[in-house]
């Protein structure tokens, strides 16, 4: 399995550790989150396997190319638009959550516009790069950031302030049936392979997932998913965590580096996750932009030799991002992410599989003709 594929999945997973997902999981802690986590892990891994498997049959092709010839245009255009919107929303929710976190914890006196602008400028630069460059960038950032995040988690697990009894109380909720919301939210964490929808253009020699690759992936996913849920509970308590907006920020604030450069680890922690957030946003918006431009492209909208379609879209991206971040409340983003996970995510997954299978069938029926 290509290591870049791995990055796609891991970046998505790690970014969600800090955002809304842990709060959704903790909100359902007495109504079946534990079983949902396990179920989501199994289902997520199976889906990932089949996704990679299907995409590997279209080397170097994104979804727009795959369904172009086999699905009527009247149908494919709305599907691609829908995907584009959902991926835009995924990036937007990251942007909103991270902006709110910066505003609350790092720079309370800064204008929210400045924060969003700082993000958006960097992300825009990233979005306009080619898919391969984004993957290279994600590799560099992950190599820098991942050891640190892992260190913080390890520090958390070894801390004497971590009360394992709270974790065990959380595990003992296993006798509740899995809840749908927790299930889809945790599924969102592990389903990063869906980014292949565009990034498959990069993978010209994508092989079927190997056993070794899937094992490593499953272990990583299990570790990160369980850490996402259980470590905050060990530090923040079982009931007491219910009204915490950003459980992971609270957790990293509870981990103390006695002899570290600074005692309060939370700032470095936020910094590391901001870098990851930028990568994740870049990936999502890159996918969104590519899908959008595969449907709507103004060939004659030009200035000198530069086509202005993409810049136009990006202006829209900025405007919506600015407006949303300014107006949305922290409960609003919580509700909308929950809604996204509950309703839109299953639709995405089903639609994606339908498209891929249609493409595969179309390709198979076409082969004999083209061979003649």
């Amino acid at each position: 399995m290509s290591r870049f594929l791995f990055y796609l999945i891991v970046v998505n997973m790690l970014t969600n550790m800090v955002s809304i997902t842990p709060r959704i999981l903790i909100a359902g802690s007495t109504t079946g989150t534990v079983l949902s986590l396990l179920l989501a892990l199994v289902v997520g891994m199976i889906l990932t396997y089949f996704l990679i498997n299907l995409f590997s049959q279209f080397p170097g092709q994104g979804l727009p190319e795959i369904i172009k010839d086999h699905v009527p245009k009247g149908l494919s255009a709305p599907i691609l638009l829908f995907f584009s919107l959902t991926w835009y929303f995924a990036g937007l929710s990251t942007l909103v959550v991270y902006s709110l976190i910066i505003f609350r914890f790092l720079t309370p006196e800064m204008s929210i516009y400045t924060i969003v602008l700082a993000f958006v400028v960097v992300v825009t630069y990233g979005v306009l790069m080619t898919s391969s460059n984004i993957l290279y960038m994600s590799e560099i950032v992950l190599i820098i950031v991942f050891p640190f995040i892992f260190f913080v988690q390890l520090k958390g697990y070894l801390s004497s302030s971590l009360n394992w009894d709270y974790v065990r109380v959380a595990i003992m909720q296993i006798n509740h049936l899995p809840s749908y919301t927790s299930f889809t939210s945790s599924l969102f964490i592990v389903i990063g392979a869906a980014n292949l929808i565009i990034f498959n253009r990069f993978f010209t020699k994508l092989k079927k997932p190997s056993r070794k690759g899937m094992t490593i992936l499953t272990l990583t996913c299990t570790f990160i998913l369980l850490t996402t849920y259980f470590l905050p509970i060990g530090f923040g308590g079982f009931e007491a965590l219910n009204n915490v907006l950003y459980p992971w920020i609270a957790t990293s604030d509870s981990i103390r580096m006695k002899f570290g450069i600074i005692e309060r680890i939370v700032f470095i922690f936020i910094g590391a996750f901001l870098a990851l957030g930028v990568i994740s946003m870049t990936m999502h918006w890159h996918v969104s932009l590519q899908l959008l431009s595969s449907v709507i492209y103004f060939k004659r909208f030009k200035w000198k030799s530069v086509n202005l379609t993409l810049p136009l879209f990006i202006v829209f991206f900025w405007a919506i991002a600015m407006y949303t971040t300014k107006t949305i409340t922290s409960n609003g983003i919580f509700q909308s992410v929950q809604l996204f996970d509950r309703i839109i995510l299953p639709i995405i997954i089903i639609l994606l599989f339908v498209c891929l299978l249609a493409g595969k069938k179309g390709a198979q029926s076409k082969w004999p003709e083209s061979k003649k």
Binding site: P108, S161, V169, F235, G236
Partner: protein, 372 residues
């Protein structure tokens, strides 16, 4: 073409470098425009009914620490109906921004403990910039006195109170450390009662005296532990080392230094009467003796000490049980080892007053110190 490309790159570089000028540091408020709060004290107010008197200890910025001979702190206090209001009003009393991000200690008055703790502690966890690894403590007299007191050992640019609790300065089994996040999770959760240190002032020596502790009971009078009980409790729940113990046997007086403590317990219900099996292991050396000791008789001393220490631990456990407080978190463990049920904590509330303790003490003396 190459020239244009070079020029573009140059322009981009200049633009990026100019952007650096906008980074004015400290989130647009310079360090000389901030005053750092390094301690917060909360007392019940005499002037405002049901109000609080908030006292702040602030570090005054000085140009050079070496020139300052005395500690450089300023103190202000204000009475108001809520903590947040008091701090807001105090912002009008100082010319700089009050920065709570560096505060490491919150001291409260004892009378506030039996009140609704949420009303004033809420402020600290809600703000986001107050550290979760701040220490919480109780003042023996008033919080104002504890905050404003400057002991003889306090040097410029250091805060004596921090050194008691942060495990890098003095380390003593009499000093219990409670962090804000522990306080929060235990007050808002069920199954464990918070222990907090009591900060007293020794007027004669002009020093602090931190050797007692207090156990919170929500909505009720807290239970105060004397210094011996505190020592035992701390050595068991926090594995505090440096525990010293005096044995008197056959006109021989020994003082032991215990430096390793292990404690495990199990709640057993299946037999006739519910009981808690507790295994304690302490490893140490003999620190002082008024007779010449023989290394061969170490085992005899082990037994003598074990019997004695066991008696003390039993006394502590029954005192806690009689007062219906649970700083060990037996209730939490009970909950953590059973599948979740609706009224599991009510069950425990019925069991705890009648539970029996079965303490097994294992003392291992490794030597007689540097001399026989």
């Amino acid at each position: 073409m190459a020239g244009i490309k070079k020029m573009r790159k140059g322009c981009l570089l200049i633009a990026l470098l100019t952007a650096l000028l906008l980074q004015s540091g400290c989130a647009f408020k310079d360090i000389d425009k901030r005053v750092f709060v390094v301690g917060i004290g909360i007392d019940p107010s005499d002037k405002v009914r049901n109000g609080f008197k908030v006292t702040l200890k602030m570090a005054k910025p000085v140009g050079n620490v070496k020139q300052a001979t005395a500690p450089v702190y300023a103190y202000i206090s204000h009475d108001s109906e809520s903590v947040a209001e008091a701090i807001r009003t105090m912002e009008t009393q100082v010319d700089k921004v009050l920065d709570l991000g560096h505060n490491r200690i919150i001291i409260m008055h004892r009378d506030l403990l039996s009140k609704d703790l949420d009303t004033f502690m809420d402020f600290f966890t809600r703000r986001g910039d107050v550290q979760y690894i701040a220490y919480v403590a109780v003042a023996e007299s008033t919080a104002e006195e504890a905050i404003t007191f400057e002991p003889v050992t306090e040097t410029p640019a250091s805060i004596a109170l921090y050194n008691y609790f942060d495990d890098t300065g003095t380390e003593s089994p009499y000093v219990i450390t409670t962090f804000l996040f522990e306080f929060r999770r235990e007050v808002l959760g069920k199954g464990i009662n918070t222990v907090m240190p009591i900060i007293g002032i020794d007027k004669e020596n002009n020093t602090f005296k931190v050797d007692k502790s207090i156990i919170l009971k929500l909505g009720e009078e807290p239970l105060e532990l004397n210094s011996v009980e505190t020592k035992y409790l701390n050595s068991l729940i926090n594995k505090a080392s440096g525990f010293s113990y005096k044995v008197e046997e056959n006109d021989m007086t020994l003082v032991l230094n215990i430096n390793e403590v292990k404690m495990k317990y199990k709640i057993i219900l299946d037999e006739v009467s519910p009981r808690i099996d507790m295994n304690i292991k302490k490893v140490g050396v003999i620190g002082e003796s008024d007779k010449r000791l023989s290394i061969k008789h170490l085992q005899k001393y082990d037994e003598i000490v074990a019997d004695d220490v066991k008696k003390k631990v039993m006394e502590l456990l029954t005192t806690l049980q009689k007062n219906n407080v649970d700083p060990f978190g037996f209730g939490l463990r009970y909950r953590a080892t059973r599948l979740s049920r609706k009224d599991i904590m009510d069950e425990w509330d019925r069991i705890y007053p009648e539970i029996e303790f079965n303490v097994k003490m294992d003392i291992q003396l490794k030597g007689t110190g540097a001399v026989e």
